[in-house]
Symmetry: C2
Subunit: 273 residues, 2 copies
């Protein structure tokens, strides 16, 4: 019987709870440590707690290092993690602060021969799995357009994002770097790699630092297009506007599929009501 | 009692039926003539029929000349009509073939002191009147985005537009010049004059000459935007896809209004389902 792979998580902030919970449910993995500058937060995970990454790496040499910290730390932590020769390094999105850092991280991983995986979850959401399965089954014919309207409705006024992630207000680049990356990846999952991109970004809420609304248009071969239309001040019809965070429409020459705010996907054949 | 104004219509083709019908129902107007190169079509209107514009103008000197012909004829007909000193000249959209012709037509009318009116009907459709009335009443707060998805579904394959206007297939500029002009005007009606425009046009149906799909993004002061997303191959949910020709969404910081394919307008308050 194979030993489970040991996993150390770096970061114990807001979003890390989903990582710790998931690792605990994976049979082939054994969570062994949590690292956080705030040692109390690391201890709260119930794992061996470290306030220092170097100490943990030297002591435990985990098989997998899962980096769940802000982008400013990523390249440095990736470098340290790779140096200990693990089986894999996983890094939360947004991956790095800029393209140069991202290229350097990829170069280091390739040189070491170690998989470096960017953590991205949206393409695994059940509605996008359902949409892709229907597309592959030919349910809507050739896909001509894909649209996503981001409408979480959580960004109006001085209390924007307060109940979850108030640090969003200080991010100098917000809409794309923090949020739209999810759909950039999801669009790749559903449409393949784009051949050109246009973006029109703007700041609607004057109290925040970055942009919170914008259109991003992706061009694909054969005249196909995908449009990300984001506006964090506006909402959509849903009991929980955080469930899908908006509404999607996949349109083919044989029909359309609509993702609604409750996560349901509705298929309409061409010419049907 | 004032005498009704005499009206002569130039053109008796496909769309002119709506003009003749409307003029007959206006109490202050008296249709007196129809001009068409095909004299049989002019006669079919039941009015005095002319095969030649010059002859009609010289003989009748109508108060109003209503030009219902293709754009290639517009500047020449406007020039002839203005020269007879009418009370007004009306010209169907698309107004002219290019900006230079349009400026020349406007210059001629201004020099003559005669109103030159471009015939545009969409902003008068009841759903756009309802949307504007709700916006003015503050029903959705400050309007941040306006979207129209043109989805008439009449443009697939070699039979595109066949049942109504097959000449669409030969138009070198189709989506904007023939069709989207309706929403460019409607957007002006609902949002005011834009300060910048971006367009991404493409041809999806290989058998036609012009472009039949595209995005047009209009920028307004204060970060407000309007998006025209047109695709003549795709359809929308409606008994009659020619009724609204697509679906609109007006979004404000206090709520949204949705125009559906049956012409109904649905208001949703911010935070409501």
């Amino acid at each position: 019987m194979t030993e489970p792979l040991t996993v150390a998580c770096v970061g114990a902030g807001y979003f890390s709870r989903f990582h710790y919970d998931a690792w605990a449910r994976i049979a082939g993995a054994r969570p062994v440590a949590s690292v956080d500058r705030d040692i109390a937060r690391a201890r709260a995970t119930g794992l061996a707690a470290y306030g220092d990454l170097d100490a943990m790496l030297a002591e435990l040499r985990p098989d997998i290092i899962d980096i769940i910290t802000p982008p400013v730390t990523h390249l440095g932590y990736i470098r340290k993690a790779l140096a200990t020769g693990p089986r894999a390094v996983i890094c939360q999105k947004p991956f790095c602060r800029n393209l140069e850092e991202a290229r350097e991280a990829a170069r280091l991983a390739e040189a070491a021969g170690i998989p470096l995986i960017v953590h991205e979850n949206f393409r695994f959401q059940p509605w996008y799995r359902a949409i892709r399965a229907e597309i592959e089954a030919g349910a809507i014919g050739e896909v001509l357009q894909l649209t996503f309207r981001l409408r979480p409705g959580d960004g109006q006024g001085p209390d924007a994002y307060l109940d979850r992630q108030p640090y969003f207000r200080q991010m100098p680049r917000f809409l794309v770097h923090e949020t739209a990356v999810h759909w950039i990846d999801t669009f790749r999952y559903l449409m393949g790699p784009p051949e050109a991109v246009f973006a029109d970004l703007r700041k609607m809420n004057p109290v925040i630092a970055g942009e919170d609304a914008g259109y991003i248009l992706f061009r694909y071969p054969g005249g196909r297009r995908a449009m990300f239309d984001g506006n964090r001040l506006l909402d959509h019809a849903a009991d929980n506007t955080r469930c899908t965070m908006g509404e999607a429409l996949a349109e083919g020459n044989g029909g359309t599929m609509e993702l609604r705010g409750d996560g349901s996907v509705h298929l309409r054949a061409f010419g049907a009501l």
